[in-house]
Symmetry: C2
Subunit: 106 residues, 2 copies
DNA sequence: TCAATAGTTAAGCGAACACTTAAGTATTAG
DNA sequence: CTAATACTTAAGTGTTCGCTTAACTATTGA
C-alpha cells in the first residue's frame, strides 16, 4: 500500500477519542475486545468496529483464540505517523536555520 | 480547550491527504492561499476550507495583509500529536522492559 | 447437554465531511 | 475609475462516519 494511504488510515484512526482510548489501553498490554468495551459507554458491536478500523490502519494486531480475540500493539503503525511529523518539523527547522544564516550575513 | 479535543482536531486534520500536502508546503515556508491552491486540482474555495480546518486545529497560523492571506507553520500543533504518540511508545516499551525482567528471573 | 459467554455481521440512521457552484467583498494595478 | 486579483461565504450534494438494534455463530463452563 502507498505510504500516503497508510497515513490516511493511521491519522484518521487516531482522530477519534474512543479509538485513542483503546490504543492507550492496548499500549499498556494485550486485551480482549470485551475488556476494551468494559469502561466504554458504547455497545460491544461499536467496539468491534473501532478495533477493525485500528487493525486496518496497522496500529493494532489481533488474534483469536477460542472465542476470545486478543488485541496487541503494532508499533510500526505509530512509527509511521511519528516519522511523518518529524519530517515536517525537520523541514521547518532547516528553513529557520537558512533564515538565521541570511540574517547573520553582514 | 481540553487536550483530547485538540488531539481530535489535529489528527482529524492530518487524516486528509490534501491537508497533509498543504502542511508539507507550509512547513517549507510561508505561502498565500492561491499559491497553496495552484498545484491542487480542487477549487480555491475548497482550499480555503482546508486552511480553516488546519487553523482551527492549531497546526497553521494565518494572517491577512491587503487581499493576501499568508499561511505559516504553528509547530506547537504538530508537537502535541508527536507527544501523544511518544507517550504510547513509551508505555509500550516500559511494558516490554518489565516483561524482560520477569523472564530474566531465574 | 445446554445455557452463558464472546464476538460477528448486516441493516439502518442522523451527523459530519469534502467538495462544488455561485454570488459576494476588499484590494490593487493600470 | 475600472478591471483584475485574492479571497470569502452560503447553499447544496453525494459520501463516509460512528453508532444502534437485532439476529447469528462459535466456544466453554456447569
Amino acid at each position: 500500500m502507498a505510504q500516503a494511504q497508510k497515513l490516511n488510515l493511521v491519522f484518521h484512526a487516531l482522530g477519534d477519542p474512543t479509538r485513542r482510548a483503546i490504543v492507550e489501553r492496548i499500549s499498556r498490554g494485550p486485551v480482549s475486545v470485551s475488556q476494551l468495551a468494559a469502561p466504554l459507554s458504547i455497545t460491544l458491536a461499536a467496539v468491534v468496529q473501532h478495533v477493525q478500523v485500528l487493525e486496518e490502519s496497522g496500529l493494532v494486531r489481533t488474534e483469536k483464540a477460542g472465542r476470545v480475540r486478543t488485541c496487541r500493539m503494532e508499533p510500526a503503525g505509530l512509527s509511521l505517523a511519528e516519522q511523518w511529523i518529524a519530517g515536517r518539523r525537520n523541514e521547518w527547522e532547516r528553513r529557520l536555520d537558512r533564515l538565521g544564516e541570511l540574517l547573520a550575513e553582514d
